[in-house]
Symmetry: D3
Subunit: 250 residues, 6 copies
């Protein structure tokens, strides 16, 4: 990888030098939660970090990447072994401490690059709180949501979004070790009230993931491929980079 | 209005009687914020309460409506005189206290009927917290979002959603006193970074409303009418009622 | 009603205009709690709001009334169906958010007009916190306590104060729909430790309302009348207006 | 002093023995705040502790006294050197920790014996919170308020209550070292809005003590005497003991 | 005792005068917890206060002593009757309120003189928080830890530190009434995992005190004497005074 | 590396299988803070994670390692570019969420393996809170502190402990990419009050790191070597493993 400002890899004099050009901090945010029988539980955090590296590189020398937040808000997965869930207030506290610390060094734009849907509401709340409380511009994005058109073209499942062919594809491209290729399975779906509470219905609400799927994944993971992953990821990275550039360049 | 279980209007023996059939509490949630030159600042709260009455009636005798929460999360409007904004933590505390109190009387399903977009993230967070902490089913819905197809048919503005023809129409149908008919104005839009942060873009983030509109409204309010309002409202109420019924009936 | 600055009914340009003369914000505060077999549970909130309108009118154009806080601190009523109780910390958070928001527009005097005894301690605490933290003058008043002499003259019960002839009278004058005239009942009093903990005893403390009264009210509600209500209310409004005027006029 | 259960003076086996009869814990609560030129700043805490000893003795072997809480809620005195003020939330946290700890040993009745008016609202709030949260009976009393008739008879000042002849008298009887007899002074009163916010007026609110008195005291301290103190204190102790006994005895 | 600035004993004009020379506030901090069969439960608080007086005197007129914090963090003792434990957050809140109050009068150096090991972690946390949040120098010291060499010379027990010969000796010198001379007992030690979690082992962790000792004390209390106490205390006071002087003198 | 239970690398069925033997969760905890001119800012987190892997392997199949907590409590480093500091309350919230989540799967022993001195007080506080609140055994250890005798033998600096020859040696052995070999520098020490507040002095307290060292490190980094690192690390791992085994084996 060419030069990229990864805070974890830098010394303080290197950070001091980088700050002469840096205008935005990229904060990768994932989750630690079950991903069915075929993906490791760190999936979201690893994908967020990998995407973060690519985005930071694409924005070089305007961007600097912080340590990944490697756990997220996952109460709906807590009945599958190994899942760790942060309270929303804990995640906001972490974000406040990070933004508050980095603001000391003159950074005023923050972009949380989030790979986990369960974090989105908390990020919406954090955006209002931290922007007004700390007088910064706090922004957030789903890692690959901006490549929705690519997904529509390449993915056939009607219900997907967790350890599905999209996520497996992204992992096969970005971090193949996350995938157990010999265990790839489609979602083992149960019927229940969750269908009536999904986005797109008149009413939303909380449900546990095991009400929806017995094996913890949805969609059709075996249909994933590194090629699909590449197209989704590269499209999203270039769109995110273009969008970020427009927001931070004079 | 025929018989409806409005908690504000009932005595405790009447509540005790109603609880024999009630399966769900409807919590209307609005905001107190500027709505441009042509709508009163209580707009969202009044609309939520009026919608709540209709939904409660449609679900009778399964539903009971609580007092309206008449302020919401509106930091983006705080630079227009009169706006009052609750911290997200305050709104969650109110919801916790309401759910925790009503659970004493055997109610286990809660539906927040929310008219204000700025509350949605907080409701998403609250759903996870309160469902797991209090062992209830906490659900939420935007008042008229389920009538999106009707809006697509009847509304021409590309940018709308606050004190626009949709909201004016809903108010003309539900509570015409909210509207200053002689002051109806289109949004006086400013260009700025807000366009790059709207839903649908790769990146989301906080911006103040005056960055987007000088008069505090968007869309084309003069195009509103009670007829449009009626179609949106009645469509949404019947869809919400059907959806709620499916969730609470055995 | 003549012109009165009710924030719920105003547009932001109207608020901007009003702020040229407004010196004080009136915050009506009630409760949502059982009021025996003959009063609706919103009683306190409705009375606070109605009193607030009259006081705001009497102070016009110096005062502006905010949205009512329509729930309060009522843990002692939680065993009667329908009661909703806010934690004291929740009520203080609401007040902080309201004061903090309205201070943006130049208001420095705040008067909480409170109709519910259970809120008084919390208001005493809030006064110290918010006055020093936000650098405003935070004041509070019981809606009709200043007409104590009128009550002493017109009310015979020795134990009264909740859904009694005083409260019924106030409601018959201000909002008669709150009263079930065919259900009016005296308090069905139980003996117990509560007597030893009432104000006036050496020791105070918490007790549940059902320890004191089986039907949820005390006093002699059937003795209430709109005439008694009028005398109490009008006396209190004029005394409150005079007191407020002395505090905010130069 | 005859045998009294003072927790500070006991070993754990002695506590274990005492718990066979103890039914109530007395928690003395004072303040650390300026008391004008003639009283030491620990005045309230010392008086609360001394009264607590007498009350505990009078209730022996039913009562046990905890360590004194030697600071209180005193924001109104913070402009006089030496005053320390606890946030109300801090005081409630201390009380919660004390009650929660002592409940482990089987105590279910708690009486806070409070000598400082500024703590009363916080105690009212604490009573509701801790009684319901910890399932105990949380009670509170002003140290000598139950001897109001004695004060009416022996005290001439119309405005008194802080470092006045009442408080000096109580100190001369209970802990004379608190009083600088050569510095005794009447309150050096300033006129201001505080008069309109005192109890008994239609409106209450926060004011700083220096707005009311230049030397930090009110009333007529030189009129105090140990005889007056004795009568007030002994009357109050016997009334408190009688009231407590009625509440804890079967 | 010669002149010493004890805040509890001073009037506000005396504090105002003292502040002309005072550079540091000494905050004595103890605990209220079981001390076996031979020491009163206030032991730590009394020793901290007595040490505080001596240190304040030694630093006169540079130091002023605040009221003692007479309860501390003692969850490990909660299974012995009478122990009261503060949550760490409560203790930090108390310290914040004290420092924040006294900073009003120009004091910028704070030294918590702590006699209880269970408070040390909380003080370490408080030092970082309060120093940065309130812009003061927040320091802390164990009362007699600086006399470690004296203890090594005079004490034979390998396991000591709570109601042992060291603590009994300090009490016999500073406040002999704390000691039940006829009950002096060595620790009645149980074997268990606590040995593996003591300081000096690779791993630390929480254990309850009754896992370690049946009678609540460790070491060999009967070996204590006022002479040992005097040497430990006087050595520590003079070292603490010297260290403090170096830190606050120009 | 042979088989090791790293939660980040496992699927939920693999976790379910592992839980048949796992008795303890290892939580690696580091920091993100400046480490002078010659070490990357993620140093502590990387070392904690690497040590964690070795310890988990040594305890296999009794132990499972969680995701690393890759930021810590570092307010003293906040004036060097790039440092991120968590509030102690944030770190405790993260730990509570982790322990609370993993307790769902039957784990009752938790060992935080901490590489950063600035976290130790917070861990001491967390141990008391989480052990009693969640009914688990919460333990913690400094990564290499148990090899103190090895350090005494191999390290000459009198002042060391941050980006010194010890830490560089550990990194050269565990993760050499952390070290800029061409930038290795001794601490550039300033004189100041920090010397009087270091452990071992009578008084402790907070100071900023730049008061002590101009380049952000102490000790003599150039004296480090992978051989020293190996001896320290391997000694510590085997001692930690032995200690943990004794605590969790029947």
């Amino acid at each position: 990888m060419p030069v990229t400002y990864l805070l974890t890899h830098m010394t303080w004099p290197e950070v001091e030098e980088a700050l002469k050009t840096v205008k935005i901090a990229i904060i990768p945010l994932g989750a630690h939660e079950q991903h069915g029988p075929h993906m490791a539980e760190s999936c979201d955090s690893v994908l967020a970090e990998e995407m973060g590296k690519r985005l930071t590189e694409a924005l070089h020398p305007l961007a600097l990447m912080t340590p990944v937040i490697n756990m997220g808000v996952s109460p709906h997965h807590l009945h599958f072994p190994g899942t760790i869930s942060l309270e929303p207030a804990t995640l906001i506290a972490i974000l406040r401490d990070m933004v508050s610390s980095l603001r000391n060094y003159g950074i005023r734009n923050f972009l949380v690059l989030n790979s986990h849907g369960g974090n989105q509401s908390t990020l919406g709340v954090a955006a209002g709180i931290l922007s007004t409380e700390l007088d910064v511009r706090f922004m957030y994005a789903k890692t690959t949501a901006s490549a929705k058109d690519v997904m529509d073209r390449l993915i056939d499942s009607r219900l997907y979004g967790h350890s599905c062919e999209r996520e497996v594809s992204e992992a096969l491209y970005l971090a193949p070790w996350l995938v157990r290729q010999d265990k790839l399975a489609s979602g083992d779906i149960s019927e229940g009230d969750w269908r009536k509470l999904r986005p797109g219905n008149p009413i939303q609400g909380f449900y546990y993931y095991e009400e929806m799927t017995r094996n913890g994944c949805i969609g059709n993971a075996p249909a994933g491929s590194p090629e699909i992953g590449e197209e989704i990821v590269e499209t999203a990275v270039s769109r995110l980079a273009a969008a970020a550039r427009e927001l931070i360049e004079p």
